[in-house]
């Protein structure tokens, strides 16, 4: 379970401090696939990056599986991060390392013996269906394959939580779909909690069970994904669903009343 309490974060800027997060409270159940949706600049990226403290919150607390992340010292934080995997929009693989070595990196950081590293890397590459690519370099892979390596790297140390920072935003729709399927599979097989941020409704609708809507640094709506689509309450949610609705209506008109339905 992830519990976020009264989280605040602001950035200094020329026009004074910008509040990126304002009194954020959120509870995410263990094993859930939880989506955080918002427009650009709403603070969703800041929020997810606070969870493993790539961003330091100004105040408030975050606890993950009972560990209060916000209380940890530097060394303890490094240990805790091994159990919080993260994947990124730009994949962030190391170009100097092969697929094998990219996935082995977190295992070596954790100080595992060579034999175990080899076994674990092969196992996890099988899981993401890249068993035949271990000797390739990232530049030799497609976007979808790169993200699979990113996922393998994030899962190598058997984390409790996987954070996804717009992981499918740089991918085409078909590849997005296959990556989402993989995440859903992993969630089923390993039972780990997935927290993802996105600006794509598709992603929410496809794999998330619960969600939160973030607007100007505040959580304005939270609940099961179905609720957002059926009864959007916040401005952001209405706008998101509204865009979808207007397309549906236009499609209806363009195709002629009921034709093809």
């Amino acid at each position: 379970m992830i519990v976020i309490r009264d989280l605040n974060k602001s950035y200094p800027s020329a026009a004074g401090a910008v509040r990126a997060l304002e009194n954020v409270n959120l509870t995410i159940q263990k094993g859930d696939i939880f989506g955080i949706i918002g427009f650009s600049g709403a603070g969703k990226s800041t929020l997810i990056r606070c969870l493993n403290r790539l961003e330091e919150p100004d105040s408030g607390s975050i606890s993950i599986e009972g560990t209060v992340i916000t209380d940890l010292r530097e060394k303890e934080l490094r240990l805790a991060r091994r159990k919080i995997g993260m994947i990124f929009q730009q994949f962030n693989l190391l170009d100097s390392k092969t697929v094998f070595d990219n996935v082995a990196f977190p295992l070596k950081v954790a100080g595992h013996p060579k034999e175990y590293v080899r076994k674990r890397v092969r196992e996890i590459l099988e899981l993401v269906k890249l068993g035949d690519k271990e000797k390739a370099y990232p530049s030799q892979l497609s976007g979808g394959q790169k993200q699979r390596v990113g996922i393998a790297r994030a899962l190598a140390n058997e984390p409790d939580v996987l954070l996804s920072d717009e992981a499918t935003s740089a991918l085409d729709p078909q590849t997005t779909y296959s990556i989402l399927e993989l995440l859903a599979d992993i969630n089923r097989q390993l039972g780990l909690t997935i927290v993802l941020i996105t600006h794509e409704l598709d992603v929410l609708q496809h794999i998330c069970r619960n969600m939160a809507v973030i607007e100007q640094g505040r959580i304005v709506e939270t609940g099961p994904v179905d609720k957002l689509f059926l009864h959007p309450e916040s401005d952001t949610a209405r706008r998101f669903v509204g865009i979808l609705e207007s397309y549906r209506r236009r499609g209806y008109i363009l195709e002629g009343a009921g034709a093809g339905i």
Binding site: N52, L54, R78, L79, A80, R81, R82, I84, G85, M86, F88, Q90, N92, L93, L94, D95, S96, K97, F105, P106, K108, V109, A110, A136, Y137, S139, Q140, G150, R153, A154, A156, N157, L163
Partner: protein, 222 residues
Amino acid sequence: MRDDLIDLLWEGLRQTLYMVFWSSIFALAIGLALGVTLVVTDKGGILQAPKLNKVLSFVINSVRSLPFIILIVLLLPFARWVVGTTLGPTAAIVSLSIGAAPFLGRIIENSLKEVGAGKIEAAKSVGASPWTIIFRVLIPEALPALVRGMTIAVIGIVEFTAVAGAIGAGGLGSLAIRFGYQRFREDILFATVVVIIALVQGIQWTGDGIAKAIRRRRFTPE
């Protein structure tokens, strides 16, 4: 052309190579430490320390702003303290290393800064320590740029050795001045220039080759 030409050239080249080789190694060691420190202590770096960063940056700029020939003179007492003499190639290595290190430091700083912040964050997110990030992420990721930068620096050191030759360091620079200039031996002056050009070309060619090989391994499509 007289028969002492080859012997003189050979001796000069040997001394130059000796100076360039060891100065490059020492300057690289110091420069790497400087470059890495500049990058990690910078604002937003993995071991932020803005004050240390500013002081170090000031020292580097100061050393770099001195003309090399003055730096050698300033470092003479230090060279005597380290190697016991102020004359000859070995003494010159002390000044050459210290003179070239800040330059290398800046070059290495620039190369390391090209490594994407996302890669460093990814390493942080799996719990890597700053030390691990430096040696397993920053340096390997920047390697092709580092090699190209080091090539520039080594060629700079060749140039420095020629200058150092003017005040008793030996090597090809000293040969050109003592024989070519002071004794009007144009054959030696000309031959020295040819050898130095060949040396610089060779270094550039080797550096380019290494950088290219690394990039080819990493970025060749299957």
